[in-house]
Symmetry: C2
């Protein structure tokens, strides 16, 4: 299987430096250090799809540094992203960013995903959810600490199930309100406290499409940095193909054949537009279409 989008990062996260103030200070003071170039949370890509970096001296005075990791292939050169107080990710993705997402060189999208999710989390978590006081960055940017009530907070990762129900050789796809014309994809939803991945898959398919499933099979996962999901892709077996669509969630849902999915994924016209290759729906549909 093609590696899912936003995976394959090449930096070593060097977790140990998050607990080592002296080592971290040395990394921050390393003249070889690299700072991720971001403008409004968007990266700058070179023609070869590599992320652009600058010198640590370019960080504004107010910047707080997040250690993205060490480049172990190049003498452990430290790589950082700058949180700048007041920075705020725009809602949704810009057309420019959309256009970049399939141009990353291998591994670069993963580095960007980590940086974007963590910076965005800092921007929306300046205060302590436990007591309301202001918090401060700690653990090299991988946490925030409240000096008032001593609570420690860590970046959120929200697990999301994304799945196909299958029934007699056909797969269930849906489209959300406002999606591009012709686009259909796997159903998806947030996993909730007190349920397993398999239970979330069954609940979401029933809620959105009225279809009962069993036999959930896990296929693959990816991080999705808008803002911080873990996408877990699954296939489940439907009891029957009658649909009861929740129109708050879905505008439409259709059953598509393996042949249709295969032709759409290979770029031929078909009953729907394929998901982009950086979305795990692409891997999920590919895995399903290629299964016996």
């Amino acid at each position: 299987m093609r590696a899912p989008g936003f995976t394959g990062g090449l930096l070593d996260r060097a977790d140990y430096l998050r607990h080592d103030d002296i080592g971290l200070a040395a990394a921050q003071g390393d003249w070889r250090g690299r700072l991720l170039k971001l403008e409004n949370f968007e990266p700058e890509l070179a023609a070869d799809g590599l992320l652009s970096w600058t010198s640590m001296a370019d960080a504004p005075e107010s910047a707080e540094l997040v250690l993205l990791g060490l480049d172990t292939a190049n003498g452990n050169r430290p790589h950082f992203a700058a949180y700048i107080p007041g920075m705020r990710a725009p809602p949704g993705r810009s057309m420019r960013l959309f256009g970049l997402l399939d141009q990353f060189a291998p591994g670069e999208a993963a580095t960007y995903a980590a940086a974007r999710s963590v910076l965005d989390w800092h921007s929306r978590h300046q205060f302590c959810a436990n007591c309301g006081a202001q918090t401060r960055m700690f653990r090299a940017g991988w946490g925030r600490k409240c000096d008032s009530c001593h609570a420690e907070h860590f970046p959120r990762v929200d697990p999301v199930v994304i799945m196909i129900a299958e029934h007699e050789g056909r797969a269930l796809l849906g489209r959300g309100p406002g999606w591009p014309v012709g686009r259909y994809s796997a159903l998806a939803g947030f996993l909730e406290p007190g349920e397993s991945m398999e239970e979330a898959v069954a609940r979401e398919i029933f809620e959105e499409a009225g279809v009962r499933v069993s036999g959930v099979r896990y296929i693959a996962s990816q991080p999705w940095p808008f803002p911080s999901s873990l996408m877990m892709a699954c296939v489940a077996v439907a009891e029957d193909d009658a649909l009861t669509i929740d129109t708050n969630e879905l505008e439409d849902a259709i059953w598509v054949s393996r042949a249709d999915v295969q032709s759409v994924l290979s770029g031929e016209p078909g009953p729907f537009l394929a998901p982009p290759p950086y979305a795990i729906a692409f891997n999920l549909l590919t895995a399903w279409a290629n299964a016996a």
Copy 2:
């Protein structure tokens, strides 16, 4: 496979009522409604392992109600848990709760897990992480809203990878500092922003034990309500069996044979104490021991 602990809940979460103020008010006013009995976040179990419930009239004046779901097998009778301002889960689990965990009737532990995770989340998230103002419960208890900056907050679920590295028929187990004498289990750690499940598995095994792995296979998942993890159990193939233990994370790590794991799981003495049956490590070890 035996169903993982804390799964199999029998209530319908009735997501639609979270968006329907009138329907929710009707459910709250339903004289047949049931309120989960909790004392210091701990349930009361009847002799048959069923959760104890009481009448809605027993909720204290200050209670805010979380809709756990509807009992569709009994006329959609609504079931609630009460968040009482100021309630606070004790750190860790009491000996009493420990003793209850393997006594739940099927599905009851899942209902308790959902209730505990959500109530605990409310207790530690009374303030808006975005602006510091007090927030209020909404969505039938499955969210909090800030009337100051209008941010909406939803209960956290923290994905955790828990995994065995395997090498030539042996499995890698570790023990944390302070664990009961003889207890070894699968390694585990929080998944971070910007990584897939498979990448988190490889990173954690390398960080904790110095072992490089590939070929990660997903086995099963469970919710773990202390306070709100999603445990995702995997097996990975180790490149070799040399260990470099991170003594901050692990007190010891050992390689155990399939025969050893089989005998320990069947209650025979062996080189380690088996994990409790409600922990997904039990399912993971069972799946690995029974694989060809």
